[in-house]
């Protein structure tokens, strides 16, 4: 169950971040800010459920942050046609691995 909560926390976070992109564009509809707020509140709510159902904070936060960054980069490539080169993909993999190391190292 904790993994389903974690997946929901990641998806709501990515949705909120993509809404932030829409809201901050010149001429972007202000309604997107509601999506930003609701998305991040839901993400932290699901993250809390993940922790209360037994997953350790270091593991949950590390996976949440790392997968969120990677999914956001992929989604912005598809939705907004942002550039995503091989070097950038390598960088995202390094960031994900680094965040996991920090959180897993802190858990012990």
């Amino acid at each position: 169950m904790s993994w389903i909560f974690l997946a929901c926390a990641i998806l709501t976070e990515v949705a909120a971040t993509l809404s932030l992109r829409m809201a901050s564009q010149p001429g972007g509809a202000k309604a997107w800010w509601a999506g930003v707020g609701a998305g991040y509140v839901a993400a932290f709510g699901f993250l809390t459920l993940t922790l209360s159902s037994g997953l350790a904070l270091g593991v949950a936060y590390g996976i949440w942050a790392a997968v969120g960054v990677a999914l956001t980069a992929l989604a912005s490539r598809v939705l907004f046609k942002e550039p995503l080169t091989t070097v950038m993909v390598l960088g995202i993999v390094l960031i994900a691995a680094g965040v996991l190391c920090i959180e897993l190292g802190a858990a012990h």
Binding site: G98, C101, I102, G105, A106
Partner: protein, 119 residues
Amino acid sequence: MRKWLLLAAAILMEVTATLSLRAALDAPALYAVVAAGYVGSFAALGLVLRAGMGIGVAYGVWGASGVALTAVMATLLFGDPLTVVMGVGIALVIGGVLCVELGAQAAARRAREAERAGA
């Protein structure tokens, strides 16, 4: 250049807010700093996007730098342990951020050249 300064401001406010969240357990007045820090951070992040940085780049650099800086500052301020694995993680994050930044700059340069060639 302006967007990188804004991004740095967003990261510093986020780290300040997160560290205050920890310290607020002992001093509840710090919850005001927590709220102001997160609101300010998202406002700065919005300005970064408006200045033209891609959300993939901005969010990756913002999130990762926040995690790494928070780990370092928690060690300095609260005496939290900083293990070898965490040190490796911070080095990986820095390397990853550099790769994303350099890759994004190269992509922007190519896009400008393609635009000139087409014009």
